[in-house]
Subunit: 341 residues, 2 copies
């Protein structure tokens, strides 16, 4: 088996990092091909380690953070790194406990900025009761970094009885989202000066633990995921690929904030492909959908909405448009926004 037969490109492109098809191919044909083992599943948010503790099953997840700019309305790379990591554990049904932190810092970074970033990171840790227990710092030469890159690995504990996963999804199931989509992507976009736009929009960067812990008590819960890179559309494609069924979404039901819609209209982005950093997509048995919605509204997530369903048939994502038509939602190809998280 030659390399070119499994991965046709000779050089890495930005689009290999966008969370869409090219990235899936990079991971499958290089990373997973070399590193395959029975515990590595590139389709889950957190790995289930075969180590049992007194408190439950041990889960492990990891995420890299390269957001630009380092500070944006609603957060910075420090709070984002904590939220992003613990959210991957949360949507796996686990309670996050311990983090490791790798910092790649570029020579010339202002120390006061690093101080603010670490203060936000610490506040996010306190809020979700997680602790950084191991760390490493590397300093990169000027021009070989992007200010700060973080890599955070999280360890959490999942109750032994909880079963969630793409394999539990069935035709007829209902799809919910816990809040408006595209806020993080748009807020970061606006924070990049070159666009010359500004707005009141804030990133939705937040812990989703309150949401996942509440939803995990609902008997008909099948699957949870946080729509980060590649947005809601990419989660829909993951569900379609994994189940072999169609995902049908109602555009009119998908919550999108007005400023997000406006900015996307002007700049030509689709909010369904933009990153969220504090939202959850949930798949529940149809009979449990109302209970799940009441639960989310009761917690104060007023924009939570039923946005679609799983249908038997071909693995694809169908969008019922605002004007009553239908179109196939394509998988992400080009990178709309590099360094969004």
């Amino acid at each position: 088996m030659t390399l070119s037969s499994v991965f046709p490109d000779t050089h890495i492109a930005l689009a290999h990092g966008n969370g869409g098809r090219l990235m899936r191919e990079l991971i499958a044909s290089l990373f997973a091909r070399h590193l395959a083992n029975e515990h590595l599943n590139t389709q889950v948010d957190a790995a289930d380690l075969p180590l049992s503790t007194d408190e439950g099953e041990l889960m492990m997840t990891t995420d890299g953070f390269t957001v630009e700019p380092l500070e944006f309305p609603g957060g910075n790379i420090g709070s984002l790194a904590v939220h992003g990591t613990i959210n991957d554990l949360a949507v796996s049904g686990a309670l996050p406990r311990y983090l490791s932190l790798n910092a790649f810092i570029e020579e010339g970074l202002e120390v006061a900025l690093l101080d603010r970033v670490l203060a936000s990171m610490a506040a996010a840790c306190r809020e979700s009761e997680v602790k950084v227990v191991a760390g490493d710092t590397k300093v990169l030469r000027r021009g070989q970094g992007g200010g700060i890159y973080f890599a955070v690995t999280g360890i959490g504990i999942r109750p032994r009885t909880l079963k969630l996963g793409l394999d539990r999804i069935r035709p007829g199931d209902t799809i919910l989202v816990s809040g408006s989509v595209g806020d993080h992507g748009t807020a970061v976009l606006l924070a990049r000066e070159q666009f010359g736009l500004s707005g009141e929009l804030q990133s939705d960067s937040a812990s989703v633990l309150p949401i996942t812990q509440a939803l995990c008590d609902i008997p008909g819960l099948r699957f949870l995921r946080d729509p980060t890179r590649g947005g809601l559309a990419t989660v829909a494609h993951e569900i379609a690929h994994a189940t072999g069924h169609s995902v049908r979404l109602q555009q009119a039901s998908i919550p999108v904030q007005d400023p997000v819609r406006m900015v996307c209209d002007i700049l030509g982005y689709d909010p369904l492909y933009l990153a969220c950093e504090g939202r959850v997509v949930a798949v529940v048995e149809q009979a449990s959908a109302n209970q799940a919605m009441e639960c989310l509204h009761g917690l104060g997530y007023h924009d939570a909405a039923i946005i679609g369903s799983i249908e038997s048939g071909k693995a694809m994502v169908i969008l019922e448009t605002d004007i009553g038509g239908e179109r196939i939602l394509q998988e992400l190809e080009d990178d709309p926004l590099p360094r969004i998280c």
Copy 2:
């Protein structure tokens, strides 16, 4: 407390990443100040998590890898990342089990190079029976990365009865090293074309598990560490700082390969400050020193040597020189070799 009162510099310098005093200050006054908790100890190789499994205590460590060039005689960034991470667990007395992998890949990287790196990584995992169970990939814009940066977090299991640590070191104890020092630093240095030198020297990058597992059976073992960034001199300083005692080293006993000595003489480096990636510094009770040496020689580590001892008194590192004098070995200040690991 103002920022400038705890950390006087306004911008990050390359030397903040060198493993010496400046890096210690950066970590203490920024990272540890913000993120402090009862489980975060910046002086250990791996954190002891208060989670008990059927098999022992859970340990966690993390490390970033930015070596340049990405391939060097004796290894590449892939094998180095596995060795570096599992060695931190190994010197904590743990058996490494699971890894998470973060890859930061620069746009334009040759895919064939990434393929070779991942193949080496996979081989190193198989050799030490560890598995990558979680991963994340980010692609950095051209000019915002260094080809590949990796961050690897490792989870291991330590027997409940094993007690090792800086706090167990006592005056009179003996210091050993498992092989020649400075090989990795020198091999990487030579692999950088700009020096116009070449040699047969290979990096010592390797798993130290066979060494640590054997030494852990010796009753008088106090402490193990792998001398990476900052080299043997930096480990000696960590011991002196933590114990408040003097570390006395005999220069004539410290194994240094001839090509390493020659290159260092030409270029003005001191091998005692250069990184190793497959060596162990051990502190043992004096009565157990010979047993430890026989154990290492029996395993085929023929260059292993007794290189010094712990003395009551001031926290400093004293080097007895080849020519019979004594000098104080200073803590690393300037970065001799950025991106060495």
